[in-house]
Symmetry: C2
Subunit: 483 residues, 2 copies
């Protein structure tokens, strides 16, 4: 099996390079990330062409994604340079400490070791070979082995080629083929896994990571329904513009986003059916990322529409717009909140441009139904400030999510330090962690404390004179390093 | 099964109390922790008497442990009060952001929900009902269900009684009986688990947590060999005092500590055999924590001593000193590094006062053997500053551990914010986390980001005027709250 051999070889290269990558000075590590960003910028057109051919995504969409990829790499370069991610704490000796005298203790985070990254089908640049998982792992000082997605192998190879011109040997390898994935998760040299994809695929790999003789952390970003709740007051105030913006969010990238609003709660008798159907119908048919996505989408949609209480407002499949890529148009389904309570399996992700509109009769009806929505990446309330505050508080605690939005739309995840892109199961396998935002780096770091260690044996961030001037907490108080 | 019913009832109580506990203002949460500390202090003698009867540990040992328990609770009270543990980040809107305009994003950590804590046999106070796991989870705002250890049920009940006089209903429940443990790990209302105990028991529960329909974080602090490496230079300089201190560390609490130095690397021809054996023989026989510990210890020791290359320097079992508690005296075994390389299964934890002395012929011999030592909670080097720096660097990277010590002993884990008590598998199930030190609280918190949320709907730490004056990062820069 060449894929298995390739996975083993890549893990070996990563393990061999691990000490070197971990020891790269922070400035140099940041420099490599910026060189990667420069390379993505310089070769954007080549990357976009290759990606568009393979994925059916438009040039405009992929150009934005190339910018996102570049910005992510630069953000992690800044994070590395600041040194705050090392979370350094120094507790000086205290002979009077209770229950026993305290030694000199200096704690920091160190790289966890070689990381396997499973790239996403729907972000062939930003969550693929040089995407967020890779950027954050390299920033942490970990070598990376990327399992390329079968949806864009040539783009993956091209990106790997750009990276290899920049990075030290072993820092980043790319492997292809389905069999390579499980092999990486089971390889004893791999110390953590990042995954973006389906709940089913992610769960299978998560189970493998946990079942190892030596279990390792598995960070899976899986499916999400992303409920959006429109209050009665918001409906009265701006129902039409909400309907318009909803269709735009639903159909962006043909609904192939983990943050797509999959379920919309509207007050019964909302009167927006005609507008919603017309706006959905106005979206031109477009190809999906691949045949396998189309098949999964169709199967999930068929299960929903076959339920007797579900009405189809609009939607049908369309003929293939691009050879090999089945095209779709948006589909809108409608059901009462009461019916959902009898059939909670309707609250199920359809990865594509489909949404379920749930009509609720009253606040009680809404609040009785929301707890059936599985934990999500996002929960959104559209309400009227002041009027809806109490209801919004109840709604936002009813569905556990990693990101809570007011009067916005969950698609379009900002690249910035405070962003959190995660959530309790089934949104992810690890509720403490995020795959977007500055703290994504924390997934690849483990703490180590040095006890009574001479300065010469300490890593530079822990030395008494703080030569790198990293932020530290000294006896619990933030230390201001002299410049 | 009354134990299963009790576990379910306790999970229900915890779930019912979760919102209330999470919403307790930080000052009030800190106040509860301090009241618990006061209660432990006030009732120390009662707790120590009950604990000594059940565990065979001495009054002196348990008094120190009561102090540790109290200090831990007070440390977490301070941590809660400071608000730094919330890790608040505020990124203000930026219409110019790339690749898209940035909304207002405010991130903080929120309680993960009801936590199950498995208490330890060997710390019937400090890692039991009101121990470090409970203290950190309550500090995080999570209700706790403690699975009491069968080794000290009366002490557990007494501690629970003290706690119930202080805490709101549902904040802390204690359940007894073996069947209660798996039931808690599988209960859908439990959102995370803390465990201190054996590798076998911890692995079984970890597997259950991962196999749930909705997997949850499982933080298991398991076994550890804690290698101690003595260099040739240190041997020459202070061999006799090292031998003396080693026996003291090995036999403290009858070796029933997860940080016990289980393997000592000495240069071949060290000449300390007689002294080591004599000092070990001078330690009086003492009871172990219980019959089940004694059986496990004996079985592990028998496996080691039955190996043809292992020599017994000293040791034997002793008659029971206390009814029901088999007493033991220290056992020292010796083997060559070369033999260990042929039989790495000798590097196996014996939970009790036994250690394997591994004699190495040269630095090469030492460095070829160390990578066979399983990842540990601690790795210790005894060397001579200057002379041994290069060797020490190699040794400290050869065995991955959570705490690295220079010229000290791994037993006696300081209670302080920078402490880290963890390590890669098999030391723990979760290399990113710690069960001792300030960051133990991070195990029970998950991030949430609020997007464009009106101030009225934000939790107080995220509001624009920062009413609680918690430390925050504003656009990536530490904000100094006005006092």
């Amino acid at each position: 099996m060449p894929a298995i051999r390739a996975a083993r070889d890549a893990a070996e290269r990563a393990a061999a390079a691990a000490d070197l990558i971990a020891a790269l000075p922070l400035q140099q590590r940041a420099g490599l990330l910026r060189s990667l960003a420069d390379s993505v910028k310089l070769h954007t057109q080549k990357l976009v062409s290759a990606g568009s051919n393979e994925t059916g995504l438009t040039h405009a969409r992929l150009e934005t994604e190339a910018r996102r990829t570049e910005v992510q790499l630069r953000m992690f370069a800044d994070i590395v340079e600041s040194g705050a991610f090392l979370d350094v704490m120094v507790d000086l000796p205290d002979p009077e400490a209770i229950p026993a005298a305290r030694p000199d203790l200096r704690r920091m985070l160190v790289p966890i070791g070689p990381v396997a990254v499973f790239s996403a089908s729907n972000f062939p640049l930003a969550f693929s070979v040089l995407g967020g998982d890779t950027a954050s792992a390299l920033a942490a000082g970990c070598p990376v082995v990327v399992k390329a997605h079968e949806g864009h192998p040539r783009l993956s190879a091209l990106t790997a080629e750009l990276a290899s011109a920049v990075l030290p040997a072993g820092a980043l390898s790319v492997v292809h083929g389905r069999e390579a994935g499980p092999e990486l998760v089971r390889d004893s040299r791999i110390r953590a896994v990042g995954f973006t994809g389906s709940t089913r695929g992610g769960r299978a790999l998560f189970d493998m990571a946990c079942a190892r003789p030596d279990p390792i952390p598995f960070y899976g970003e899986l499916g999400s329904l992303n409920p959006v709740i429109v209050t009665a007051a918001a409906l009265v105030e701006r129902g039409e513009s909400l309907a318009h913006d909803f269709i735009a969010s639903l159909t962006f990238s043909q609904g192939q986003l983990c943050t797509k609003p999959g379920v919309l709660f509207l007050p019964a008798g909302h009167g927006l059916e005609t507008q919603l159907a017309e706006e959905a119908d106005a979206v031109p048919p477009a190809p999906m990322l691949g045949q396998w996505i189309h098949e999964g989408y169709t199967a999930a949609l068929t299960a929903l529409t076959s339920h007797p209480d579900v009405r189809v407002l609009t939607g049908r499949s369309a003929a293939a717009a691009t050879p090999g890529h089945d095209a779709v148009i948006p589909t809108l389904l409608s059901v009462s909140a009461k019916a959902v309570r009898s059939a909670p399996e309707l609250l199920h992700e359809c990865f594509g441009p489909a949404a379920l509109i749930v009509e609720y009769e009253s606040q009680e009806d809404l609040l009785a139904t929301l707890p059936l929505v599985p934990a999500s990446l996002t929960t959104t309330v559209h309400g009227r400030e002041g009027t809806d505050d109490e209801l919004a508080r109840l709604v936002l605690t009813a569905v556990p999510a990693g990101r809570l939005l007011w009067n916005g739309w969950p698609t379009g995840v900002a690249v910035t330090q405070a962003m959190h892109h995660g959530g309790p199961w089934p949104a992810t396998t690890s509720p403490l962690h995020t795959s977007v935002g500055g703290t994504a780096i924390a997934r690849w770091l483990r703490p180590v404390v040095y006890q009574n260690m001479p300065d010469a044996l300490l890593p530079p961030p822990l030395r008494s004179d703080n030569p790198l001037r990293v932020p530290r907490r000294l006896n619990g108080v933030v230390e201001q390093p002299a410049v």
